[in-house]
Symmetry: D2
Subunit: 278 residues, 4 copies
Amino acid sequence: MCRWLAYSGSPIAPEKLIYEPEHSLIDQSLHARYGVETVNGDGFGVGYYGERELPPAVFKDTKPAWGDQNLRELARHVRSPLFMAHVRASSGTAVQQTNCHPFRYGRWLWMHNGVISCFSRLKRDLVMAVEPELYPSIEGSTDSEVMFFLALTFGLSEHPPAAVGRMVGLVEETGRAHGVERPIQMTVATSDGERLWTFRYSTEHRSPSLFHSTDPRHVRRLHPEVFTPMELSEDTQVVVSEPLRDLPGLWIEVPESTYTTSERGRFEMQAFRPAPPD
Amino acid sequence: MCRWLAYSGSPIAPEKLIYEPEHSLIDQSLHARYGVETVNGDGFGVGYYGERELPPAVFKDTKPAWGDQNLRELARHVRSPLFMAHVRASSGTAVQQTNCHPFRYGRWLWMHNGVISCFSRLKRDLVMAVEPELYPSIEGSTDSEVMFFLALTFGLSEHPPAAVGRMVGLVEETGRAHGVERPIQMTVATSDGERLWTFRYSTEHRSPSLFHSTDPRHVRRLHPEVFTPMELSEDTQVVVSEPLRDLPGLWIEVPESTYTTSERGRFEMQAFRPAPPD
Amino acid sequence: MCRWLAYSGSPIAPEKLIYEPEHSLIDQSLHARYGVETVNGDGFGVGYYGERELPPAVFKDTKPAWGDQNLRELARHVRSPLFMAHVRASSGTAVQQTNCHPFRYGRWLWMHNGVISCFSRLKRDLVMAVEPELYPSIEGSTDSEVMFFLALTFGLSEHPPAAVGRMVGLVEETGRAHGVERPIQMTVATSDGERLWTFRYSTEHRSPSLFHSTDPRHVRRLHPEVFTPMELSEDTQVVVSEPLRDLPGLWIEVPESTYTTSERGRFEMQAFRPAPPD
Amino acid sequence: MCRWLAYSGSPIAPEKLIYEPEHSLIDQSLHARYGVETVNGDGFGVGYYGERELPPAVFKDTKPAWGDQNLRELARHVRSPLFMAHVRASSGTAVQQTNCHPFRYGRWLWMHNGVISCFSRLKRDLVMAVEPELYPSIEGSTDSEVMFFLALTFGLSEHPPAAVGRMVGLVEETGRAHGVERPIQMTVATSDGERLWTFRYSTEHRSPSLFHSTDPRHVRRLHPEVFTPMELSEDTQVVVSEPLRDLPGLWIEVPESTYTTSERGRFEMQAFRPAPPD
């Protein structure tokens, strides 16, 4: 299990979310409250969109996030209108940079919290379903990266929710074929730099936690003392594994089997359903 | 704060204590119960005495102990009659190999859990009190290593409890001179390969937890099912930050202001008192 | 490209070969003479057989070998009758522990210097040819590890030279099917703890360098001053990417398309030929 | 020994100098030509000034620069008008982040190539000469960092060349007092974000190599094909351990016992002399 956050809005320094809140992502790396594991110390990653012409930057390391000096520097010096950050708790695969999230392909970023059950049993069939042209770009050994490449195979760059639906459909079908009852559990965030999608789903409808921020204008009315220093613009959208602060009215749970879309201040939630993979 | 264990007895593989018990040192690295911090993920180290003619081997890394493959290998393949293992939670100094415990000087090993309060204020005076010939051997930046070199300066290799007493006396004197009220908190283990000493002390008499194992014969009578596979010899002595199992009668708390001596199956506890440094 | 050495003989400390000779493996990690690359700084590994009942120990790290303190400790404290050591120069795949050699499966160790040309183009077909039961045990992303698992698929544990021959045959066949002219270049060492095999082969018959040590009795007569301190037993066999010393008569080149077998002091060389994979 | 470069001019991405030239800093990390060591693989660092109100960012790692993915990302995504980059070859002190260059204090950056001879013998006296208020900010164990803190002690932020002169004077005086004949060898770069100073000096007048770039207008006339893609502005100043390209007229050696000052397109060289430390 892991913890993550995704931000879309006016450009800010990622430290505003990664370090500053009382239950920041750093605090979640040491003391997660909603996950199976309290410690997320098996590496971390930040992916951010900056200047238009370049693909997103990705900074990853296998060290625990809480003590990493480079993360601290980067989180202070970068300014980005759309970024993701992830702290990892390995569910068995190696602690190595190629297993850290977010994963990148072209302009796409992808990160995941959850698990494909009995992944080592299903892995071969799933990897075989990845488009052969994409196959050599798989660098690590996680279920999360295979999910990403399956979604790319199924058209992530054209219609993300449909592609993720087919990916989940394939994982469930493959799982059932191997006698795995509850093949998938996930919260996922993905972006092309313009829009941000997040997904909450699991076969047994007991998905990892996921929350989205409420309208910043609403928040400011409720807690003016807190948010002034955060300089949140009106188009701010944050989606997180766990609330960053214990303040009523700030965070709303994303329901089971739901996906969200954030784009320039618009935020929408819709039902998410797995689809037959072909 | 940190967690550690020290073993003396018939040669065993360190994994018997580092991995196998339900609240093994690995479990303590993720879920410590008695310390200020629950997570001890800022590096680890093992020091062990093996073949007579060599100084002890030291294996240290900055990664969390729980996921380290090399530690797993070493803990299985080594056999040692006297070893120490330590998992670190940095109290501010850098996460780097030279700050991992145990520290080694000649045939001596040293590890520490605790803190010198306001160390950055006291550091210069303390480091200046280290014997100039020893000074260049200080490699890291921790209070723990400075404590070791002060103890060496005060005669650790001749009379360990007296040398540690003078080290503590100097820290307390220096602390008071700088207006630090409770300068030191510690549990320490040190060895020359023949004997093992541990110390529990703090200025305010609220020291970090420390426990020692009871007589293995007694334990076998109480819990024959548990200890048969551990093949504990009759001369086994284990001192630990936290009990490795939740079984009544196995572990006894080392009292405040006490030091212990283990040597070939003999185990003694005596009162520990700081001494004037000169 | 990489550099490696493999030892079989009376138990010695690996430092005798890894650190002590003038052109030791450590020196080769900084200043290789025969390879394409002079620097082999992308991680290292040691695998050694120790006590009979355990699988071999493997110690790997992504740091350069030359500065690693843990390697120094291990190389001094271990004693082993059969070990391998490898320094890596990545040919493009990630610098991570799961890509460091030697690889292990059960009691088998495997290490490689060389390359499968255009590996990313051939990878999918080759990985698909790995026995599905073995597939989930592939942890890294190198060509070398895929070669190992193909050899295991083709019966490495029954008849190593034949299995390696079929592996090479498959790589060449697959390469040709994808328009790769010279698909493979390799020196390989593999062992089950009793015997040690090494292989030198490349499609174009321009293989990476490989040398074996001459009979220790012969060496002692030639250079008594050098080898006394190395305490080489009469059954010593060493195979290396590059000679460890510049002394005439010590090292003999393993010819192209040859494999060697070392077992309790017996050393044999035979012709190596790729075989049709099925 | 190490290799470094320092840039001042219009904002550029550091990859223009770190990766792109044929003998880029990355190439120098593997194949240095002018240094004692050809390999500079014991960590690296980049320090850069960005937005006005923040201290400079520092990104350091202990891995070799050549294979580091994060460095590649940062070097592409950052834009800075004044930055430094350094690849390290340890002269004995530990490979750890706190020993990587550049060092930072407030708005000041400092990096060094060279050595204080017999540093372990002189270290205590030199460290004692550091202003006690500054002392706790020393984090690593290198001679280079002690040189920085001595320069800060002697007024680096008021008059850099004078402060560096007094630092060198103290090192030479201390060295002579301990019987060290040639106490110091150095090229140093330091900056406050506005100006950039570099120094070339050694007691025996055999200093490590140092070169500065010629006027970009001049370069463009000589090699228009090369520099168009580099988009060098007219105020570009680069100082490097080794020329980044083998083109005549591009690089001019900084003479022995000289310091340079770069400020908004102005470049000056002046004689450097050690001064009595007090």
